[in-house]
Symmetry: C2
Subunit: 205 residues, 2 copies
């Protein structure tokens, strides 16, 4: 991030990092191109050497976010070891860990109002995250007696929804501000109860 005089060296990533910090502290709407440029030690016009404009910068941030997100969940999933159940729960925890550790990315991805089809790279990265999450749900759903097995996509939709809801409502300044419990606990117990409802956890856990 050290300036090397006239030429910056790695302005592209420096702008992304600056924007990320701004989004974290001001929300995705409070973020401005000019601020990001200034905080990277550069003129607003310089941004246009690296991005088509404001939206393109946000899209690139979201794309990076989805890549990290996918990597994190993939790593947590660990190929389904030691069991589909453990791997699934780890994936869920990874979801929340990501939202916590990288709030700027999370906001760019889910709260910036950007279209996930803004550009093909972003769409691809988002799709990859979705696939990794779905795969984890699918592997687990194999353990449900076929008769009472919901479609895997329904299954993953439930968990994604609960995870996202927990982040939005209890990991932020929003309604549940004075959250009754740590978000991690809310999500963990919520998923636990849900899995019990599917017969994937013993009823008396």
């Amino acid at each position: 991030m050290s300036k090397r005089g006239y030429h910056h060296g790695n302005l592209r990533q420096a702008l992304i990092d600056a924007a990320l910090a701004l989004i974290e502290s001001q929300g995705p709407q409070g973020f401005t191109l000019s601020d990001a440029a200034k905080s990277a030690g550069v003129t607003p016009a310089a941004v246009y050497r690296h991005f088509a404009g404001r939206d393109d910068l946000i899209a690139e941030i979201a794309r990076q976010g989805f890549e990290i997100f996918a990597d994190l969940m993939d790593h947590a999933y660990a190929g389904g070891k030691p069991s589909a159940l453990a791997a699934f729960e780890a994936t869920g925890r990874a979801y929340l860990a990501f939202a916590r550790k990288f709030p700027g990315y999370y906001m760019a991805m889910f709260e910036s109002g950007i279209s996930l089809n803004a550009n093909p790279d972003l769409a691809r990265a988002a799709e990859r995250s979705r696939m990794i999450f779905a795969r984890s749900a699918e592997a687990l759903s194999q353990h449900i007696p076929e008769a009472k097995r919901p479609p895997a996509s329904m299954f993953s939709a439930h968990i994604w929804a609960m995870a996202h809801g927990v982040v939005e409502l209890f990991s932020r300044g929003a309604p549940g501000a004075r959250a009754p419990f740590p978000p991690e606990d809310i999500l963990e117990t919520g998923i636990g109860i849900y899995l019990r409802g599917l017969g994937l956890l013993p009823p008396d856990a």
Copy 2:
């Protein structure tokens, strides 16, 4: 809404309605005071006869939203009849129905970035919604064997999170855009599985 010449008649509510329509179509960020004024057939300055400013207008919209939201859930709850379970499920459905029917209100309440403590009236209305939701969860949780009963606030946090997550992810243009199922179904089955996990529904339903 008909103009009566110089004096509008009920500009205050007309502004709210106009803002609501704008928020619905452009999102809570795309909404501007000037547009709302124009679409109510009035000069931007006129807004200041009725609201302290832009944020105050949004706060009032959110407040009205929470009142309607609370009323709707309260009505669906119907005093816990015919059973705590049925009443609870009705409350959950009312949540989604509200988000669907009044997207402008929902956005003002949960996506505008406004603080729920912006003013006391808003805080009170939001708190009322929370209470009604919590009460419904609490009544139901009485039916859970005490040993495996989670705190009622945890319980309602789970359901609120899932409902909110479903709205944000599957009722909008966001990630799950091409939602695999109608949001209503996702929420309904999700809550069903969750309640089964609590032993509130028979395991083979």
